[in-house]
């Protein structure tokens, strides 16, 4: 087991963060650290805007970073579970990204 980093871009809505944290607890995964900020600089996320055909407004979306210590198989499962949260726009680990439900084999975030 090694420590891994997950990055999420999600809607900045009331209760959204609680869904992510709740999911970790509910499925028995542990959070080593968590950091969340509203996104102010959209430059690194232009590809998401292009992909979804939208423009983000300031304060609308947040970026979350979670560190967790798990094996490979569980990491894949966590990623897939997070992808299912309705308010998550994109989530990635070192190797893959789910962007609006579609899997890409690289870390785009």
């Amino acid at each position: 087991m090694i420590q891994r980093k997950l990055t999420l871009v999600m809607e900045n809505k009331p209760g959204a963060l609680a869904r992510v944290v709740g999911l970790f607890h509910q499925r028995g995964y542990n959070i080593d650290s968590l950091h969340v900020d509203p996104i102010e600089d959209f430059e690194p996320f232009r590809f998401i805007e292009d992909e979804l055909g939208i423009k983000f407004q300031v304060g609308e979306v947040s970026r979350l970073t979670i560190r967790t210590t798990v094996g490979d198989k569980l990491m894949r499962q966590i990623l897939r579970q997070i992808n299912k949260l309705i308010e998550v726009i994109a989530v990635s680990d070192d190797e893959s990204t789910y962007l609006k439900g579609v899997l890409r084999n690289e870390n785009l975030l």
Partner: protein, 578 residues
Amino acid sequence: MKIAGNDILIQSLINEGVEYIFGYPGGAALHIYDSIFNQKEMQHILVRHEQGATHAADGYARATGKPGVVLVTSGPGATNAITGIATAFMDSIPMVVISGQVQSHLIGTDAFQETDMIGVSRPIVKHSFTVDKQENIAQIVKEAFHIATSGRQGPVVIDVPKDLTNPDELFDFNYPEKANIRSYNPPVKPENHQVSRAVDAILTAERPVIYAGGGTISSNASCELRELNELLDFPVTNTLMGLGVYPGTGKRFLGMLGMHGTYQANMAMHNADLIIAVGARFDDRITNTPEKFAPKAKVIHFDVDHSSVSKIIEADIAVFGQVKDSLKAINNYLRSRKDEINREKISPWHQQIREWKEKYGLNHELYKNDSDEHPILPQAAVQHIYQESEGKAFVTSDVGQHQMFAAQYYHFDEPRKWINSGGLGTMGFGLPSAMGVKLAYPEEEVICITGEGSIQMCIQELSTCSQYKLPIKIFNINNLALGMVKQWQDMNYDGRHSSISYEDSLPDFVGLAESYGHVGIKITKNSELKEGIAKALAIKDKLVFVDIYVDPNEHVYPMLVAPNGSLKDMWLGKGEKT
């Protein structure tokens, strides 16, 4: 035209085509109830407990494929709905639950009847919404229905603070045509390379099994599954949730698999070289010890939910997408390679399965023995119910031995006819879910096969059945105990029957049914069984409660040996193992 928040909510439901809303009023929901009073398009069904409302909506949804709708008040109304929401969540049933909430300015103050419904329900919903202002109600309802009914379906909660349904504040109302949720995109069509890899594996298999579950039913893919089977002639097994998706009397049907699956279904899975999992999730009641599951099999997994695939059993080939679309794609591609289908190749496998079935298959003719020298076998009771209803009824069930006997001995030839809580295993589900089914299909026979333990968990709904004149037929498989628990105590605790009986305190069910205005029938002997069941089914305009006293010492077999067993390790009878 401008209307108030309560009317916006109700008009939105009407726009969604909601026919029935199952609920129970209270302070925080009163403005909403006033709107219900003022309209005629949708009927409110007043249950006797909010758990009943959720199960009734759930039964309606399972039988029709349309979302079930529930309305409850804040606090205790909302918490009473939790078991039903969890039940729907575990079985991926589309449902929209509207809960009243205390006024916005009181939230967080421990106000009267305040419960954080969003927090309490979070782990058991697909999604939830708190209404923040009246202008957003219509959009939220639209999105809630879209989320509940798309992708892997499930329950959605909408929590509505009372002040936002105030009849005195008016707003424009336009019901949106589409829900546009930019962060949500459930997969629809499978990818071509996944389809062709699956077909390659299918064409080379020698010992294949199709293992179809509830996802095949939610996706309305029964036709496509049957087409696939016509092309391939493969053996088919169904999960408890999948019964009916392939005909229960079909030539290639192995019966249910898993914990109480048939010998031939479990043996076929264990020895297969290819398992085609369709809308099924390798639950622990199916796999037994995952490390020992089907050691020789390659696995193709069709599912709409990425997180279900390779969660328990690693899939060799994954086909993501609505199961219906995926099966269509497979069938089309298979047709183009039709001359590669070699039925000869699998005939020894069919022969092997026939031998297993002959050796230890279930005895479906127990009902023929009507001697009064022995007590009624619960299996025979179900067989009679099957015969007398000609296998055509909707059957709801509760949880326990009676549920397993119903699954084993009532053969469902159509999907959506077998309505049971597979994932959560919720006692109390049977009667209220039957109400939802009966409202949806008033002309069809709706049967509830229950146990004297389970029925008492939502027995208050007998009153609802009387109010709305729902002539359900309840068959209470009465073994005077929590039979399934007792069976485990017999098998694992040397017969120490801790807290499973209440023999002297059971109600007189016939008298109880009659007190609600229903008909009650008591059956204690084999010689009365056929006639009693026929008599109940012949009464078309009344609910009939048939209390059938069965052998209290019967066990459900086969039963997987656990822990550490594989699918080939089964108890076949008392003290008899494979």
